[in-house]
């Protein structure tokens, strides 16, 4: 782990990082790009799906999924939706301002073990933010994977994240993308309309169940229905990976907020398999 404790530092030590760039992704979601002031910190030993804790003195700490891949080490990127007091303060910052980071925490998607497999990446709403890390990892190491399907559901065309990037990746043949919106209020949406599960018929005939791994991230309500579709495709239970959200304060199994039964999402999660979901009560 790279940002984490180095010699002489304690487990809660934060590292200052400078905002290099910001961009509005949707009305309330913004892209942030950070660089550590200490240039010797190089982010490469993390997995897509892991998260970091951002600290703003006077505001507090909050947990965010890392949305850049470990294959791109010069900077670290996040996607943030403005929903609470912390993100409100974060949105007021300007390029060049400092935030304090610690992490990466949790257990992410073990991409190296997925070499040679087909991937079905299912994203809903903000789920695209952690999955962007997976997509960019695939882009950088395309030769390691076989077919890659990307299914994305958004509320409306304006709510879809990374639209241009995903279409560009699809045009270059890196992924096969299928996009949908719940409701097309603009009348100009060229793709599918309906919830994300209605995209599955488009890929069903090409899925080879025994060599496919599914990666899911989205709002809590989405998991149940997506898992049903994946089980219909006969994807093995331990090859359905999903990243879950819980309240976290410490990131290291001390504060107790993310406990699900005896598991701490911050240590054993946020990535779980469907097999875990079946055996750990209350997971989804």
């Amino acid at each position: 782990m790279a940002i984490t404790t180095r010699e002489g530092e304690h487990a809660y030590a934060t590292k200052p990082a400078k905002i290099l760039a910001m961009k509005d992704l949707t009305e309330d979601t913004r892209y942030f790009k950070f660089k550590f002031l200490d240039e010797s910190i190089v982010e490469e030993n993390y997995k897509p799906g892991q998260f970091a804790i951002m600290s703003l003195p006077g505001v507090g700490e909050a947990v965010f999924s890392i949305s850049s891949p470990p294959t791109r080490t010069d900077f670290i990127e996040f996607g943030v939706r403005k929903v609470g007091s912390f993100t409100e303060a974060l949105f007021k910052l300007k390029v060049g301002d400092i935030v304090h980071l610690r992490g990466p925490y949790g257990d992410g998607f073990n991409m190296e073990s997925l070499g040679g497999r087909d991937l079905i990446i299912v994203s809903g709403g903000l789920g695209a933010i952690p999955l962007r890390s997976v997509l960019l990892y695939v882009e950088d190491r395309r030769e390691e994977f076989n077919q890659v399907f990307f299914l994305n559901g958004a509320r409306s065309p304006a709510d879809m994240l990374y639209r241009a990037d995903i279409i560009a990746m699809a045009q270059r043949g890196i992924i096969e993308s299928h996009l949908s919106v719940d409701k097309d209020d603009t009348g100009e949406w060229p793709y599918h309309e309906g919830v994300v599960t209605t995209l599955f018929p488009k890929i069903t005939d090409r899925v080879v169940s025994e060599k496919t791994t599914a990666i899911i991230c989205g709002p809590p309500i989405m998991y149940k229905y997506v898992i049903q579709e994946l089980l219909k495709l006969k994807i093995p239970k331990d090859q359905i990976l999903m990243t879950l959200e819980r309240r976290m304060k410490c990131g290291q199994g001390h504060c107790g907020h993310c406990a699900i039964g005896g598991r701490y999402t911050c240590l054993e999660g946020p990535v779980f398999t469907y097999y875990d979901v079946q055996h750990i009560k209350e997971l989804i």
């Binding site: 304690h10 487990a11 809660y12 030590a13 003195p57 006077g58 505001v59 507090g60 700490e61 909050a62 939706r81 929903v83 609470g84 912390f86 993100t87 304090h100 809590p220 959200e245 819980r246 309240r247 304060k249 410490c250 290291q252 199994g253 001390h254 504060c255 107790g256 907020h257 406990a259 039964g261 005896g262 598991r263 240590l267 009560k281 209350e282």
Partner: protein, 403 residues
């Protein structure tokens, strides 16, 4: 002195023999226990094994008239805290003189966890120029009169905060804390016999067992040994056969004094697991006030929230940790107001399943130490005894048939 020498030489002999036999150190420890007259615990839990401590497992005797003198001596080592009665309740308070101490108590309102994870403490200070971590000073804190259940509570907190990733704030406080235990007699709310925490073998520096006109003094750590060596003129190693008999009788008498018992505590985790959708949770959830008192008083509840505070001048501020409780509303609420545990039933279920079942999987032991605080303080009678009895009776309609 001569006796000490024989003990050590016996031990060295065992060490040599075991090296020949290539026994591991744990086995060696069990052999050494066989040679010890006093086994204060029916079994020793293997995960916190410390070989060095077993060499220090010394026992002394102290006459009760010398005890005030001992207190005076120990006060010179740091700030002394001990059980004090005030407002009809006991609590660990600063001790100025020996007369303040009152060892005739069952439980304090808040256990010694307040010295390790205080209900509210600062972790970070900041102003416009930057931020600095806040750590406690190096002052030694000594807490005397801690009962076996509370020492077990500290051991459980140690595992959580120091076992995997070390919490620097806890670690500093723990290293500065000297724990001097004291024997106790149970009342009707004590269930430590059921939880197997009525005796303690490690986690303390010194432990005083009150036997008539004298104390048996157990040494549990290097720190404790150095205190004992300094107080050598008040202690004697000569413990007679009669006194050993007296100790055994006292133990038996104490063991018979327990009035409350958690039914089948050993199988409780299995019952919770097999009967996960039990109606019991809803029944108690209906009654629960979500007040959080159970977490405030529980010696192993440590969940905390982190909040930033800015001072009135808006120039500086601090970050603090505040004791939180999983029974409080919004405990599991994430940004965007999605609450994973919106009802009292699910939060109460988390509280009890985490304590009684899930802790076993993670740390090898449930995190209930049977201190009886929830039994004493829950205003609506939801406590480890009523919850586990209800769970047990639900699966076992005729309890006598299950015995």
């Amino acid at each position: 002195m001569c006796q000490k020498f024989t003990q050590i030489s016996t031990f060295l002999k065992i060490l040599q023999i075991s090296k020949i036999l290539e026994l591991n150190s744990k086995l060696l420890y069990y052999i050494s226990l066989k040679f010890s007259i006093f086994r204060r615990y029916p079994y020793r839990l293997p995960y916190k094994y410390n070989f060095k401590n077993s060499l220090d497992m010394k026992t002394y005797k102290m006459s009760k008239d010398r005890f005030p003198e001992f207190i005076e001596q120990i006060k010179t080592k740091g700030q002394l805290y001990g059980p004090v009665k005030g407002n009809g309740k006991y609590s660990f308070e600063k001790i100025e003189k020996f007369e303040d101490l009152d060892f005739d108590y069952q439980r304090t309102v808040i256990g010694p966890k307040k010295f390790l994870t205080p209900p509210r403490y600062q972790t970070l200070r900041y102003d416009k120029s930057g931020q600095t971590d806040v750590f406690v000073s190096d002052e030694t804190q000594i807490v005397i009169g801690v009962h076996p259940c509370d020492i077990h509570g500290i051991n459980i907190l140690d595992r959580l905060f120091l076992g995997n990733i070390k919490d620097p704030y806890y670690e500093k406080r723990r290293n500065n804390l000297i724990i001097i235990g004291h024997s106790c007699l149970p009342d009707e709310n004590c269930v430590c016999k059921s939880t197997g925490t009525d005796m303690v073998e490690d986690g303390f520096d010194l432990f005083f067992t009150e036997l008539g006109e004298h104390y048996l003094v157990w040494v549990g750590s290097d720190k404790g040994l150095s205190i004992a060596i300094e107080a050598e003129d008040m202690l004697t190693e000569e413990i007679s056969e009669d006194e050993i008999q007296e100790y055994v009788r006292w133990q038996q008498r104490r063991s018979e004094m327990f009035k409350s018992e958690i039914p089948s505590f050993k199988y409780l985790a299995d019952i919770i697991h097999l009967h996960y959708d039990s109606k019991v949770w809803e029944q108690f959830g209906e009654k629960c006030l979500s007040c959080g008192i159970c977490s405030i008083v529980c010696p192993t509840c440590n969940c905390f929230n982190v909040e930033d505070r800015i001072s009135m001048n808006t120039e500086d501020g601090f970050r603090e940790r505040i004791l939180d409780s999983c029974t409080l509303p919004y405990y599991s609420m994430v940004a965007g107001d999605h609450d994973f545990r919106p009802d009292r039933t699910s939060r109460l279920k988390l509280y009890y399943t985490h304590k009684l079942k899930e802790y076993i999987g993670r740390w090898g032991q449930p995190s209930c130490v049977g201190c009886g605080r929830c039994i004493t303080y829950c205003p609506v009678g939801i406590n480890v005894l009523t919850v586990s009895t209800a769970l047990y009776e639900e699966v076992c309609e005729k309890p006598e048939a299950c015995e």
